[in-house]
Symmetry: C2
Subunit: 187 residues, 2 copies
DNA sequence: TCGGGCATGTAATACGTTACATGATTCA
DNA sequence: TGAATCATGTAACGTATTACATGCCCGA
């Protein structure tokens, strides 16, 4: 069975399943918090919404907008909700895993260790920052965890993933810095 | 300063910096072991090699090939090596982080918990398998760690990343399974 | 003899980013 | 007055996947 829409389409449906939104609002949520695991520019979202509309997975109501055109508040349709629900439990296609920092690391043996240490220190700082944010969010949630069946359950689940991911990344950066430091001053 | 080539170009250079190869061999290494952090199809590699050639970053020697055409054994040029070395320590552009399983998780609250458990169990198995492989490789390396300046250092560094990544993923999958199981039979 | 590995490439299509284009309101 | 936010869209370009096209050699 061919999929109804691209993965981006499901990302949009996942956002609309939580709240009706304009294309602009979807784009905003695509930056934060969805941006940690899926991204899209507003132009891509607008074009994809037209496809979802043609497929009957979303509908919209017009409202007077700030610009020259009316704004369109999109909603997920029952068919859209069904399609999303079915897609969620389908096994994810093995995906292209692209990680520029790791690729650089693969070729790191050619480069200057001191510059590499600086690069990994910058990366480490970023990961520690994010980890701090996630841990704060986690603390607020842990007290009474949201039950399955509510959107907040999804929030908690992806937060948990981000948390362990940032820990792993920070740990690896520290290991890299340690290894590279040793190569600078061998005992 | 505009980059000399796309990221894929640097991935190819990183492979050629280890050993001269035909386009076919590069494609093979792009599946394993490079495939864990960068992927490309052979058609993309062939076209990109032509660009790298035009830019003077690679050269090739012809040899009689199995098919109708001669095979081309590519080498990285000194300029290619310089470009790669310089690229390695440039800060990575923040990249589009796309993870289908996490996206599904974000919408998981809509779906059937039992099916979700199955999906995460499958994912967990895959991560544990890989972790096993990585740990075996690691054990073989840990005894005498390769020094910086050798390609094997790059191998070890990316292996270390894979190791902590798979651990994080497996841990998260177990947490998800646990959460979802609780929602099935609440005490 | 038939499928898989080795080896080269092109073409069509899909997906994603950046730039272009418009325009009201709000806040400094 | 000028930048930021809200709000819509199109066009051009770059990157990536899939399909098409060829053909030898080797082992089952």
């Amino acid at each position: 069975m061919a999929p109804m829409t691209s993965t981006l389409g499901f990302a949009i449906l996942a956002v609309l399943a939580r709240a009706d939104s304009t294309g602009y609002e979807i784009a905003t949520r695509m930056r934060h918090p969805v941006g940690r695991f899926w991204t899209a520019s507003h132009s891509q979202i607008h074009t994809d919404l037209q496809r979802l509309l043609a497929a009957g997975l979303v509908s919209y109501a017009t409202a007077p907008g700030p610009g020259p055109q009316d704004k369109k508040v999109y909603s997920i349709t029952p068919q859209g909700r069904d399609a999303l629900r079915a897609w969620v439990t389908e096994p994810p296609r093995s995906q292209p895993e692209r990680d520029e920092l790791v690729l650089k690391t693969y070729a790191a043996w050619l480069a200057d260790p001191a510059s590499l240490i600086e690069m990994f220190r910058t990366a480490l700082r970023r990961h520690e920052e994010r980890l701090g944010e996630y841990e704060a969010d986690w603390g607020a949630m842990e007290a009474d965890p949201p039950p399955f069946g509510t959107p907040a359950f999804g929030n908690m689940a992806v937060l948990r993933c981000g948390l362990t991911y940032e820990r792993h990344r920070a740990e690896w950066c520290r290991w890299m810095i340690d290894q590279l430091s040793r190569s600078l001053k061998p005992s």
